[in-house]
Structures are given as structure tokens and as C-alpha cells.
Symmetry: C2
Subunit: 407 residues, 2 copies
């Protein structure tokens, strides 16, 4: 049995016309002899509409019931789409979360998949040519309806592909692949034919919204080959896969990512002694505030500054917590800077090429861009720059690492 998983996002199933384009993709795969698992999101706008309603009804909607409500969005999509397939003479059925079943934990509105027992699913694939599965949703260990959080349908698709023996998974979206950077910022950005899971993870965490991070983690763990493609073109798209030698040798840097959603917080004049970092960052972690970059200034006379970045939405809470800790440990005060952005160069090739960081810093220096913070990982170099210099920084790095295409 040749199995293929195809996932279509909200804009691909927005209306009847879009759904007919999706049907064309699916019928083509069936004609090629595949048993097809189609994973659908809610029609675009539907999830927001339901959320709005929930917040009209209740100031603080019960998460478990929010999931019951939101899950109707995908249920609607799969029912309508299965009807469409049936009209074309294709033997198809729909499946909601509990029917697969996609077993999750009980963290309502952001549940994590525990397991997928694919035996029943596989037997249904013997009987049907296409199974149309609701993305984004599962059923908890307590038999309640759960949802996987924003973009969770990508994870649903990769998870079912993994459960069916790491079969190919095509993620259809409204862009035709993964680009070296955002083409709206850099018109010379080019589509990458192949990236590794690791690179994709770095790009996803940097706000390249093509794939949900968790879906990439899942794909990496179970070695699911993921193609990112467009519903509205015939382009082959980008393959997200394991690292192989050819990739490492050919390209140093795969892409330049950026993130405007960062704010920098600095705690000033704190005593430089053991336990200070823990005192500061433990409360932030306890309040689910994700700290991205951290830099500690070289200490002078036993006094230092601690600078870190958080997401814009967490700023208010991060400031309150920092100010409290600052008082407790005898610091001078807390200040913040909201006019910064992060730019990163990403590539598994860095592992084998020295000097990538130096090249990046030099290029930014020559372009007269001041670097405010730096952090590096094995396959990524990130710099915080002034917000009004971000665009120039991205373009500079894109050119420096030979990513510009011909326009």
C-alpha cells in the first residue's frame, strides 16, 4: 500500500473554489496509485470567528470547552471536502480526532500528541482511497476533545505520516516553498530546494511561518520527509529532510531569518555573584515567559548588567518580575528597548566552514550596522540590531552569503 499524506491549510480550503483546487491535488495522487491521507485545517477565518464568539460569551472561556468549540472548525472542513471527493467518485471518509485516534495529553488549547495507534486507520485505508482527517485536534487521555495550538494541523499531518511508517508528507500552503529569506523584504530571495530539519527548526523559531516548529521536531524525530508546496501551483516546493553530505559541502548558509517580535530588557547594576542568573530567570520561566537571548556584561568592581530579550507580548510581565527581583538582589533598576529586531543566518554548512560568524560581523560593520547583542549555535548566528536597520541587515547578509537570485 503506497501511502501519501497531504495537508492543506485554512486558505487552501477557504471556499468551494479553493477546495476544488485541493481536490485536484488529491485526485491526482489517487490516480498515481496512492492511498491518500488528507489533513485539513479550519476554513480561513473560521477559528478566529469561533474565538471571538467564545470571548463574547465568556471573559475567560474554559480551555476544555474552548477546544470543544474550536474543534468544530476542522470538523466542518473535512465533512464538506469529503462530500466533494465523493462527487468525483472517490471513495473517501472523514475522521475527527477521536476516531483516528490522536491521543494527546490534557493540556487543553495546546495539547501534545502522546501516540497514534494506526492499526484502525490503516485498516480504513484498505477500505477507502482517501481518509480526510481533521487537523489541529485530538482526544485526551481523559477522553476529552483537545486542540494542538495554532498551526497544529502541520503537526497532525506529520504525526500521522510518522505513525503510518514515516511516509511522505506534503504540506500545502499559499507559498511554494521555503525561501532564503522573506521575499517581501528581499526581492532577490530564492526558493530553497532542500533544507535539513535542523535548519528548518531554526527558521521556524525565527518567525518563518511556513511550518509550525513542533511539526518539524516531530518530522525530525521520526524522519518523515516533508515537502512544503503551494496549493495554487505545480512547483515541487522545498523538501525538509535529514542532513546528507552533498548538502553540507555545497552550502554554508541556507537562509537569513529575522524576527521583529523582540524586546530587550536590561537589569542594571546587580552584584556579580553565583545564583544571580537563577534568581532572575527562574521567576520568568515559572511564568512561562520565553527568554531568547541573554548577555551578561563583563563585571566591573563586582557589579554587572544582565540583558535579555523576550517576546513583545511578554514585556509587561517580564518587566514587573525583573523589577521585583532587581529590588530583592539590590540592583539599580530595569530598563527596556522596544526598537530592536533579530537577524540570523542559518545553515548546517557552518559546522564544516569556519569563519561564517566573522564574515557576518564584517559585512554588517561595512554596512554601518551596529550589533547590539550576539548569540550563536552550531548552525545559527543571531544578532540584535536596531529595528530601523533590520531590512538593510537582512539584505546585506543575504548578499554576503551568496543567496541572491536573479530577478
Amino acid at each position: 500500500m503506497k501511502i501519501l499524506v497531504q495537508k492543506f491549510g485554512g486558505s487552501s480550503v477557504a471556499d468551494l473554489e479553493c477546495m476544488k483546487k485541493v481536490r485536484a491535488k488529491v485526485t491526482k495522487a489517487v490516480a498515481e496509485g496512492y492511498k491518500v491521507v488528507v489533513v485539513l485545517s479550519a476554513r480561513s477565518g473560521q477559528t478566529n470567528k469561533l474565538l471571538e464568539m467564545a470571548y463574547q460569551w465568556s471573559d475567560e472561556p474554559l480551555p476544555a470547552e474552548l477546544d470543544v468549540l474550536l474543534a468544530t472548525g476542522e470538523q466542518e472542513s473535512i465533512a464538506l471536502f469529503t462530500m466533494l471527493l465523493h462527487d468525483e467518485g472517490i471513495k473517501a471518509r472523514s475522521m475527527v480526532g477521536y476516531q483516528v485516534p490522536i491521543l494527546t495529553d490534557t493540556s487543553h488549547t495546546s495539547a501534545r500528541i502522546i501516540s497514534i495507534q494506526a492499526d484502525y486507520f490503516r485498516s480504513q485505508l484498505e477500505d477507502y482511497d482517501v481518509i480526510v482527517m481533521a487537523g489541529f485536534q485530538g482526544v485526551s487521555t481523559e477522553n476529552r476533545i483537545t486542540t494542538l495550538g495554532r498551526g497544529g494541523s502541520d503537526t497532525s499531518a506529520v504525526a500521522i505520516a510518522a505513525a503510518l511508517g514515516s511516509v511522505d508528507c506534503h504540506i500545502y500552503t499559499d507559498v511554494d516553498g521555503v525561501y532564503t529569506t522573506d521575499p517581501r523584504l528581499v526581492p532577490k530571495a530564492t526558493k530553497i530546494p532542500k533544507v535539513t530539519y535542523e535548519e528548518m527548526l531554526e527558521m521556524a523559531s525565527m518567525g518563518a511561518k511556513v511550518l509550525q516548529i513542533r511539526s518539524v521536531e516531530f518530522a525530525k524525530k521520526y524522519k518523515v520527509p516533508v515537502w512544503v508546496r503551494s496549493t495554487f501551483s505545480e512547483d515541487e516546493g522545498t523538501l525538509v529532510t535529514q542532513e546528507d553530505e552533498s548538502m553540507m559541502e555545497s552550502v554554508m548558509v541556507s537562509g537569513v531569518a529575522f524576527d521583529r517580535d523582540q524586546v530587550r530588557v536590561t537589569v542594571l547594576g546587580i552584584p556579580d555573584k553565583p545564583g544571580i542568573s537563577a534568581a532572575l530567570f527562574a521567576p520568568l520561566a515559572e511564568h512561562d515567559i520565553l527568554v531568547d537571548m541573554i548577555v551578561q556584561k563583563a563585571s566591573r568592581e563586582g557589579i554587572t548588567d544582565m540583558t535579555f530579550t523576550v517576546s513583545r507580548k511578554d514585556l509587561k510581565r517580564a518587566l514587573a518580575l525583573s523589577e521585583q527581583v532587581c529590588k530583592e538582589i539590590g540592583g539599580e533598576g530595569v530598563e527596556y528597548d522596544g526598537e530592536i529586531s533579530k537577524v540570523s543566518v542559518i545553515g548546517v554548512g557552518m559546522r564544516n566552514h569556519s569563519g561564517v560568524a566573522a564574515m557576518a560581523f564584517e559585512a554588517l560593520y561595512k554596512a554601518d550596522i551596529n550589533i547590539l547583542m550576539i548569540s550563536t549555535s552550531e548552525i545559527k548566528i543571531s544578532c540584535i540590531v536596531r529595528e530601523d536597520q533590520l531590512e538593510k541587515a537582512v539584505q546585506t547578509l543575504h548578499t554576503t552569503f551568496g543567496l541572491d537570485g536573479i530577478i
Copy 2:
């Protein structure tokens, strides 16, 4: 554990304001020490909206997928309403069909309930004060989502009341009980404090749309006491229950029902010999056409006419089938009359009172109303009259049997 089932229809959950009225009913029952099972329909208009969408998408929507689509309507209601309860500090959870579970057969869009295993449900009632259950839906023996047909939420409510040990079941609607006849036709119609299941069945089958017929059959079978009440008043409503002696003795006729949805078909000049009725009515039954009244004219010279009534929507098919049979058995032809209506007097008291039929016929005669067809059962007398005389017929019978109230 004192358990109460409360069912609210689409107009009772139409919007936030309505739902707050529903919440008041529920919190009152909780305050009285009940564990409450709330059964909800889809918000009014929602089911029609989903149906419209399905028929936009597909000329002939797959019934199994239509059920997946329609089931979202109730799922939306229960999620929103449970949030509302939670905001009042009431411990509540929702349950969709498969969670209860309401096990049905596989007749999609008009499934029948096979069983309800109430063990899990009961254990959840220990943990929660209120369970908000989706009406209208179940899960089939093949683990597919099913719906119970129009008005199926009444049946859901009575069925769960039966499964929980025939506890009281309050059906809230937009009228405050069962009336002796339609108050829009007869302003002197009065609310009936108590009717038997049998009477309610006859009334329901006559188009008194207060309760779905199947829900009454269910209530009768499991002796579930059903109250019909209004969401928008404090009136006690009508109790539908078993026959008791007081009822039989006091009232001959409980109500006058009518049905405008009848058409009369006559097959003319057919040979009066064994097997003729079967030849005519078997094909109709095979095509799911419900024949209501049947009258065969006294035969003359071995030739007779056969007259019967069917629902307006079935007329076209009934005529085609009748014409075909008529040719085969050598009849003269088929004619129909669309300008007729049915009026019925209903009451378990008839069993102990002779002469009810005679009284009815005489009253109609005195009012100059011609009776076109007659059929009687143990607790019902039905007459077909000309459509333009229906209103007068209903008023005459209502007065004759002492049902007029003071207005």
C-alpha cells in the same frame, strides 16, 4: 443522587441573552440539589445554515458526512453554554455523542438509538454538577458520527433520562405546554395540565410540533415523566405521563388536532378482488411513502374505488406509482384532491365513553361541514374535510367537547 434532565431547543439557545435565561433555569435546579443533565440543540438557524452550505458544496451530500457537518451545530452550543455555567461557578462539562456514548444504528441523518451505557455518564455526574450534552447526535456501531433526524434532541433528552433510571425530563421550548388545539386557530384553546403518552403520540403525529414522535415513543416505553415547559416563563407546563384512573374518568377528549399536509388520491374503477390492496400499497411502502388514511368504496358489480391520503411532499411519487399499478390491474384512472385537511379529536377517555364519534359527526353536520373520509382508533377519531372548512371544523369540535377556555 437526584438527577434531572433539562432539554432546550434551538430558539432557547439562539444567542447570549437566551442562553442566560437557560442558565437561570439550570442554576435553579442545581440550587435545589439536583445533578442536572442539560441537553442542547444547535442555535436556531445553525442547522439550516450548515445544510445550505452542504448543498452548495454538493448536489447530493454524502449522508455520513452530512452528519459530521451537522453535528458541529450542537457541539458549538454545548461548548458555549458550558463556558457560561463555569462563569457562574458551576462545575460543568460538555459531552458530544461519542463521549456519552449514545450508540445508534448506521442510518445516517435519521439514526435510531440502540443503547446508552450510562455507567461512565453516571460517574461523571459524581464529579460535575452539570453535564451539558449535545442533543441530536450519536455514534454508530461503526464508530461514525450520526444524527437522529429533525427534532432529534427531544429523543436524546428522553433517552438519557431513561438510561439514568427514568428520571424526570423537562423539555423547554418556546410554548408553555401542550394545548387543546392550536391557539392561533382557536383563541379559546387551553393548556392541558396532563396528557398520556398515547394522546401525545396521536397529537404529535397530527402535526402538533411540541414533541418529536420518537421521543414520546421512547418516553412511553421507559415510563419517563416528560414536562413540556417554556424557557421564557415560570409556568409548570404540561406533564406527559402514563394513564391513570383520574384522567380516564374526567375527560373524554383531551384535544383537537389538525393537519393541513394531506392530499387525497383516488384510484378509480379497479376490480374488487383479493390482492388488490397489496398490489397498490406495497409499492408505496417500498418507496417509503407513508399512507395515512385508506377508504375503499363499497363495490358495485365487482368494481371499486380506492381512496387514500399521503403527505403533500410525496404526492408526485405516489401518483406515478399509483398510475403504474392502475394500468397493471386494469383500473380506470387516478385522480387527486389537494384541497383537503384532516381534523382529529383525541382522548384516552374515549375508551370508557361511547358515542364520542357520533357526537363529533353530529356537530360537524350541524355546522354544515361535509366529511370526506373517516378513520378511527381506540383514542382518536379523524375526519378529512374540505380545506376551507378546516378552521370551522376545529372550532366546532373544540366547543363540542368542552375544551373552550375563558379568554
